[in-house]
Amino acid sequence: MAPLLKLIWASYQHNTLRLALVFIALVTACAGLSAVLVINSAAKNSYASASQPFLQQVEQRIIARSGHALSKEDFASLRRLGFSQLIPVLRTSQHIVHPITGGSLQISLLGIDTFSVINYSASNGLKLEQNSSEAVSDELGQLWRPPYASVIHPDFATELNLISGQILPLENTPLLPKLTVTKINGLGREIVMDIGQLQQVLGTDKISELLVVGETNDVSTSELRTALPDHLRLENINTGEQAQQLTGSFHLNLLAMACLMFVVCMFVVMNALHLLIMKRWQNLRILRQLGVSRKQIYWAQGAELVFISLLCAPLGAISGIFLAQLASPQVSLTLQSLFDVRISYTQVAYVTLIAQCFAACILGAFSAAILPMWQLNSKLALRNLNVTVNTSHRSWLYACIVLGCVALGLGFYSINMLMSFSAIAMSIFAGCSLLIYALPKSLNTLFHCLPEQWVLFRWLAADGVRLSQKSKIACCAFFIALTSNIGMNLMVDSFRQATQQWLGQRLVADQYISTQSPKVFTQWLATQDIDMQVIERKGLDAVLLNKPVSKPQHRTTLELRSYPSSNLYQEAMLFADQQEDVWQIFTSGQGVLVNQQLALRHGLTLGETLSFQVESAQPETKQIVGIYYDYGNQSAQALLPLEHFAKYNANTTLFALHFVSKQQQNLFVNQLASASISNQVRSIQTHELMALSMQTFERTFVITDGLNIVTLLVAALSLATSVLMIDMDNRPQRALLRSMGVGNYQMTGLSLIQYTLLSLLAFLVALPFGIGLTWLLINLINVQAFSWSYPILITPSKLFSAGVMSVMLIVIVVALPLYRLSRRKLVEDIKCLSF
């Protein structure tokens, strides 16, 4: 084995580029995968800790209804009724003055009744996150015993450049208790202190919510609900699991892109190994003639792969962590703006991550080595030199047809994400088969179509056939990256257009007001002399009764919202499907409009009935008369006329304002800004809302876009490098042309045209598959992940730019090596002709 390994080691001197390609591909694959693993795992930890500060088993909370407040008296009276499992919490977001930079910093503050926590945990064995109860009790003790402290997680403190012992002032001067950086696992992206201290700092006695700790069941929940006064309500908490489910699609998207990147990189590895083995083949044959067995050669190659994986795994993992850190602000912003969940970065388990990368490397590298090894195997069988490799291109066409049919079948009958992703994989492999079939065929056709006088172009086409056959694995990698690039671009573009159209149509008001104190706002508005129309939007939560469930926590919550039925709002509605007399039935109160998410998740169609129940009221049933687009909303939602909400104690969710003129709107904005209620309402103009929505939209796709471009670049690099390497192996052919008087620049130009032609053909084959991929992404993946779909919009300019980009990428990547090749003296090249 040792001489064999020595030979492999010595061969690296002549195969640097091929070896570098294997390294780059494996490191890139590991980096992409580990970055996504780090992001997903950090997010998972954050959801768990952010939703349940310090405490586990918190599934419910009590909050005040809209327009009401939760007071100390409410808490005291509930305790007097025997509900000792309630823990008061005050959440707020405040601007603090940074003690070092002096800048303003918006930060979440969490006040928790630590005394109740400790008492309850002592008497009921309440678990305090992952720390032992005693340890956390000590930590929490310092929050409510003098000298009071506020605590922050070390990661968050590092991010904000804060240290223990600092006293943070709020912008309006009060000081927070002295900061302690401590590693309580439950801490998230907030500063935590005792509720009494926070109330004192803010000069309030408000309570945001009462956490219901300990185990809950139907009986206890029912008792608590009955005991609640009218202005309070019990709701299930947005637990970490819910946040995970909410953002699951986002993480799935990331993981899918990382997996795609991994697959493309494995193709690059396969290509590089193929080229490496091709280069070694002569030496290996000599070894076989000297009596070295095939088994020994395989072991040596296997050992080489393990060694390479050992080097690449840690490099890839570290690059991945670096990438994750780079992407972290973007991911945080995206998740915060999309799902209102925050993520922080906890410590990375390096050993586990490197082990995962190593396993992925080994698995990927050995899978990628199967084809080159299989080819080597038939070559190394010295006695069987007549082994003929099936070079019939038609078999690739058959493979394409079979794979295409499988993809269609899987797509048509897809019932889950696994089947949908399999359909995508099959369609991409079908595309690869078609590419392998079509490349030589089309170049051959081009060769026969060109006039005989165009001798150099004919040579170019004929030589291209040879090139395409030798570089087919690299071509496939490039094709996959290109297809996904087209597919993703079209999907995002279609979604962007659909969202813009949807927002433009739905946001018909000039301004929107949201407030927790609607009465205060309407009273203030009544005193203003502004020519405008105010449309109040009401909303409340109901339980969907269409699908019976055994456990109350498994019930689907349905958002019921009011919708105006004026002509303006009728025209503003964008339906995916509707009945002819939709508005007539809707205004009569017999019909309901449901969002696409609700319809797709529960298989509801037009004409069917929707049954729901609002709290303890009588269940209601309405006919579904319209299914509307509702992008970005994860919840099931139904629209009813405003009059329908009169019988319920419904919250006002929004005020839509229509002004008679721009001047009137400006007048309103100025008066609101100077009014005393300005801090109780959130006002946004429609154009600002649209800009904000589109900003959030763009942010959502930044990371997947990044991975997409990296994948395309790696694939282009692979294709260009392998073509160049094949070219170098093919020096005699090029030198021959030079010996016949073909100029240096002519040869360089021919090479460039050849690469352009190859990438252009790959793009042409990728085009229909990219469009097909878009269809699968929108109509299968999107529907299964987000429960919404939208029409495919094929923009020729987008496709054109994708084509230009693919060609440009190849040309840019090959430009420098080609330039270097062209600088080589002819006499050096001509020697390879034995002249």
Binding site: E452, Q453, V455, L456, R458, W459, A462, D463, V465, R466, P732, Q733, L736, L737, R738, S739, M740, G741, V742, G743, N744, L826, V827, I830, L833, S834, F835
Partner: protein, 229 residues
Amino acid sequence: MIEVSGLVKQITDGYSHKCILDKLDFHLGEQQSVAIGGDSGSGKSTLLHILAALDNADKGVVKVAGLTLNSMSETQADQFRKKHLGIVFQQFNLIDCLSVWDNITFPARLNGLSIGTYHNDLLEQLGLSSHKHKLPVNLSGGEQQRVAIARALSHQPSLVLADEPTGNLDDNNSQNVSELLFGLCKKLGLTLVVVTHSPKVAAFADTRLLLQQGRLLNTPNQTSNFVSA
């Protein structure tokens, strides 16, 4: 056709200089054929490179078809090779992705010449008519070398250079290829320079030159008996 005077070519290996060609002088008229022999390292290949304008002389003057090769730019050298030169290699070096016919007509088309009777005759005279549409990989060594000869003559160059044209062939094929190469060049009135170790091949030439350590042991007027030194 070829005028070489005071040709010197040196290579530098670290600090030492080695003279590959040392003050070479000879002259060859049109339609002549010459065989150049000599040991390995005697400078035969370097001389061919310089005659093909692939390499430059360090000193001296080299003229081919009235053109001074020393002063040529790279583009001019490309044009010279395209128009005036045909090369036959030891290892055939056919364009493997093109058919026999495409290989043969390649230089003519490169020069913008029309393809016609001349090329069909060439194909016939070389016994390649039945192989016209085959790829080189499907031909024997002798057949491939005949295609290489046809290709070298395709554009009727002024000078044909052949480097060990029979080096990869058996005796029968060697004899056959030599007859065809020398015969066709004579018939078409082309000047032929053949580098060979084989006295049998050299016997076909009008003139035989012997190189040793970069010097000519004889001149074209003093034809050598072509026994390796």
